[in-house]
Symmetry: C2
Subunit: 341 residues, 2 copies
């Protein structure tokens, strides 16, 4: 039986992974550590499983004498307005978080980390294979996220090389879906919450920047396969994403069409917004040949819209209700949101 720790388990991706972990019969205890900075207690509220234990704490200062067979490190904001506002805290969550979590791993245990396609920065090759070294400005306003993901990867792969640490690192590409914060600030959730609250849809830049939109069920299915389901000799970081590349503007137009033609307005681009992003899935197909993204963006966006409609229902459909869903969370930030992120 396995004792499992999930850092950031109340977050968007983290909570979906908790659902998957609790389907396993060999998990005896699942400890979630989350400071509810960008995570939300509601994301776990549906779970009645007695194996789940929630600890509200920063991961980097977690106090516990427990050790774990498997550790999943999802603790980080993932949306630019959030990490650009608190860069030091972002680096701390990722990297100091990893240092702390390594102390809690049993000898021979497995350490799984959610890195990001942001390690590629604004890529000069497309699609991006894992071997692409990226183009990140390590002094720029997005660097706290990009560089703390890169440096945490370095820490883990160097421990793999020097000490044989059992490491699994995934690099997700633009994941969206239910349990995204309404005030998350990234494109799909922004478009949907704007449309649902009677506002225009805001596109930053010309909207022609492309992304590979991965519906959360597809992405987390890929994570689970690499993290624990599939046996593999592949030891590198693994791209997990949808390789159908769609422009931000196309998504905005689609959300608009679902809501009866909400107007689209354009605002200036945020700094260093990548122009393109698309995963090379060669290694993913090798590691998990049975896996592929099954949810089209049209279907995924429609499902996400349904979820947000229910999520936003209990309150009046006003912008002021957004971000005030959880009484336990920090005071929500006032975010303008970057719709192309």
């Amino acid at each position: 039986m396995k004792r499992v720790l999930v850092a950031g388990g109340a977050g968007f991706i983290g909570s979906h992974m908790c659902d998957k972990l609790l389907l396993r019969k060999d998990v005896s205890k699942l400890v979630v550590v989350d400071n509810l900075w960008t995570g939300r207690a509601e994301n776990l509220a549906h779970i009645k499983d007695p194996r789940l234990h929630f600890v509200r704490s920063d991961v980097e200062t977690l106090q516990t004498s427990d050790t774990f067979d498997e550790i999943y490190h999802f603790a980080s904001p993932a949306s630019p307005p959030w990490y650009m506002k608190e860069p030091k805290r972002t680096i701390s969550a990722n990297l100091l978080g990893a240092f702390r979590l390594l102390d809690l791993l049993k000898k021979g245990g497995r350490f799984c980390f959610t890195s990001s396609s942001e390690v590629y920065g604004d890529p000069l090759v497309s699609p991006q294979p894992e071997s692409y070294k990226g183009q990140v400005d390590c002094t720029g306003p997005r660097s706290s996220y990009d560089e703390s993901k890169r440096c945490t990867e370095s820490l883990l792969f160097e421990l793999q090389r020097t000490q044989g640490l059992d490491v699994r690192v995934v690099r997700p590409f633009n994941c969206y879906g239910p349990r995204t914060r309404p005030d998350d600030g990234r494109a799909v959730s922004n478009f949907i919450t704007q449309a649902l609250t009677g506002r225009s849809i805001t596109v930053f830049g010309d909207g022609l920047q492309s992304r590979s939109w991965g519906y959360v069920d597809d992405i987390t299915e890929g994570f689970a396969r690499y993290f624990w389901m599939n046996e593999t000799d592949y030891r590198g970081p693994l791209n997990v994403g949808n390789d159908r590349e769609i422009s931000v503007l196309d998504v905005a137009k689609y959300v608009s069409s679902l809501m009866g033609g909400v107007p689209i307005v354009f605002k200036p681009s945020p700094p260093q917004d990548p122009t393109n992003r698309r995963p090379d899935l060669t290694n993913a197909k090798y590691v998990m040949p049975e896996w592929s993204c099954k949810v089209s963006y049209e279907e995924g966006v429609a499902k996400t819209l349904d979820w947000f409609r229910a999520e936003l229902k209990p309150r009046a459909p006003k912008a002021s209700a957004i971000g005030a869903r959880s009484p336990r969370q920090r005071k929500p930030m006032q975010l303008s949101g970057f719709s192309s992120l």
Copy 2:
């Protein structure tokens, strides 16, 4: 009057910077923190100045209630065999070190950090301007150094952006000179110690990889100008190096010639050894127009040879004496050394 902390002040570059700081009349106290991992107490032994206080400690766990007007963060191994052997410790020294040091900085104080030209990885442009985003493999065997420098830069520049932190970051290019450890493992010191101890000079690869060899007096003079001497509105990272690019083999041949024709042997390249490295000094000339590298590699190598000759004299000229100079230091690592680093 300024209270100053130098992390890594017993190291190669750090100790030279302590000499320069103690020339200042406005420094009332200079605290050196060093764990003597790659630093050596001998590097400070010549200083009799009562303002100097030495604390032997890892920087990331430094215990003190003092705060400082200026903090200089030089704490990191800089030679590949050292950081490749202890990558976790290397990341910790740089990044967790920076977190700890930031706690000790007085409000309005200045934080100076020695990054590295290694942030450029194996560069695809030459010379490298500070704006070049680099080509670093964040999962590779050199990544602990490269990525911890990059991530620490990110931390500091993001604090500059969000909180107005007064930051000065330099990126030195291949510095060499007196006070390099005999077992440092990089090219100039390796060639010299090999020649002085009756061994062949080892060149890794074909030796045609180029470097910009900066003599320590020139490099630290540039640091001092950017860190405290010159007023400037330039707020970015600053390349400091010698832009005369010389191959590793040429340096080996020159050392050989100084020692009467020591044989040169070739060994396979270390992993991911950069093929070239040369600073674009446009910004350096803007910040400090009066500065330039004045010491040619011929002169600098000869001076370094003299220093090593004296340094190695007290013991018999045997390889076993190298690295055992300081009774206070950790057991020296057995290093083969990478002569092209």
